[in-house]
């Protein structure tokens, strides 16, 4: 459920939004009237259709996200976003939904008002795409952002590794699939990126599938290859080209327009 993921990743203010080719975000005033209309809003416990409450429960220094608020099957795909505020601190925030905020064709602008923090403090947008259908996993996107000014992240204290002690199984969120998604008319895969993908394939001994995917490529049946469906959706939401990092069917993060070997290798950690 949502709270678990929020705790895990950090502070966040839940906004109803969309990606706008990058991390541009527009903010409307908190008093905008709201008309639910026919739109089915994904419900979060304790919220009305016009107001959002989200708890800021922690912080991370360089990125955050992952909120899974959907509670009703069958709603249309929807996109949320997290607005990171420089002065965000743990605590509860309230937001008012603008009438203009409703999602339009997956390409609408951000539209929620933030009443708990000043707009100029909004630093960046993190996104979460939730395709909420019973047969599909929820897809989460996370875009690295700068959040200067937030309290530093304090890693948990752990015991030194004892070689004689059985080690826990690998983290389920360890990346095992990286896909550089691009549109061929916009350019080729940068060679350092290609090299990094190749290196990951070799160094992992086959446990990581690092590859490229041109968005129009299909399988033998003329469909998007199953192994690239999630990555393609995520990359398109973030804007091509993008590097999509997955752990199984969970998208861990999306890196926009990586160009260096370091971009890829860092993202794979």
């Amino acid at each position: 459920m949502p709270s678990r993921n929020i705790r895990r990743f950090a502070f966040a203010i839940l906004l109803f939004a969309a990606f706008v080719s990058g991390q541009e975000i527009s903010i409307v005033g908190p008093s905008s009237p709201v008309s639910p209309g026919s739109f089915e809003f994904v419900k979060v416990t304790g919220l009305s259709q016009t107001d959002l409450d989200a708890s800021v429960v922690g912080v991370v220094p360089d990125q955050g996200i992952m909120v899974m608020p959907a509670s009703k099957a069958g709603v249309q795909p929807i996109v949320f976003a997290l607005l990171v505020s420089k002065d965000a601190t743990p605590g509860k925030r309230s937001f008012t939904v603008s009438r203009n905020a409703w999602w339009k064709d997956f390409e609408a602008a951000v539209v929620l008002a933030q009443s708990g923090a000043k707009a100029e403090h909004a630093k960046a947008l993190l996104g979460l795409a939730a395709e909420w259908k019973p047969q599909y996993p929820i897809v989460a996107l996370s875009v690295p952002v700068e959040v200067g000014g937030v309290p530093p992240f304090v890693p948990p204290v752990v015991d030194p590794v004892d070689p004689n002690k059985p080690q826990p199984p690998p983290s389920p969120n360890k990346p095992n699939r990286l896909t550089y998604v691009y549109e061929k008319d916009q350019g080729n895969v940068p060679k350092p990126v290609a090299f990094a993908l190749q290196r990951l394939n070799v160094d992992s001994g086959g446990s990581v599938v690092a590859s490229e995917f041109e968005e129009d490529t299909v399988n033998a049946f003329g469909q998007v290859p199953a192994q690239y469906k999630l990555a393609l959706e995520a990359a398109r939401s973030a804007g091509l080209p993008a590097l999509v990092i997955q752990s199984g069917n969970v998208i861990i993060r999306v890196v926009k327009n990586p160009t260096t070997e370091a971009h890829v290798l860092e993202a794979a950690k």
Partner: protein, 298 residues
Amino acid sequence: MINPALIDVTLDDESGYPPEVAAMDTTDQLRMAAAEAGAIVTDFPEHLWIEQRYWKDAANENDINHTWPADYIDRFTNQGAGNGGYGTHECTAHGYSKNFECAWNRQRRIAVGPPVPRQRNPASANSSSVWISCLSLYAEANSRQWGGAGVRQILQISTRRGAIPDKIQPREYGFKHTLQGTCGAGGINQSRGSWVSVSQFPEGWQETAKHFRPLEYIFPDSYEQTVCLVLHGYAVTVGRDGHCVTYDRWMVDDGVMRYPDSYDVSRYDSVGRIKATVGGSYSIASTVIPDDWDKPAG
């Protein structure tokens, strides 16, 4: 220093690409054949253009990053005599196989090359590399077995229905349908066997072959474009002087193009020869991609 005897070689006994067939392999004919078979035909993309003064830089970058076409090709094939086989006329299919396999591995982004004659790269076993049967294409292009086939024919056949995997693969995929790779010598990385007609292909072979089809071609129309494609990791297949080969590396200091010839040997074409044979050349930009790289035929 490249042995001059390996540059601009014309094989006296190679007749897999006779002049009357070559005459029909114009760029326009190839474009039409590819389009009719269902492929995307692309003009040379501007973003792939590299000014000649930067070719050396681009080559160095490929050396560093292992992004030559040769880095995505992990085998030589052998259409010649030996190993119980006999000299064949399958060159246009052998040339195609390297171009297709290069595109396949490039998309997967695994550097499994460069190919070494009569050796298997251990990396291939941990990759998604698939080796196709050259015979599965040539047998339809020329049902009489002898006399060769056009570049255009091979391109059209492979685009329309794909190629059957070779009986030898770099790893075990459990393909339902396979075919010997050649009637020639073959080798450690290519199976050999008797001639078969299409009617003798394993029943239901189309179900497997359709997973190994090209999707998009780029047709260079100048020597410079050919070099640029290779510098970007795209193999270029050319038919010329009775033989068909696939360029996989631009030797920038020598000014020649390398190709893994289908006789277990690397040879080279000079600029003069490349210029003379640009018409009728092609590069596979993309292929069908499987739903799972570990199960390339589903």
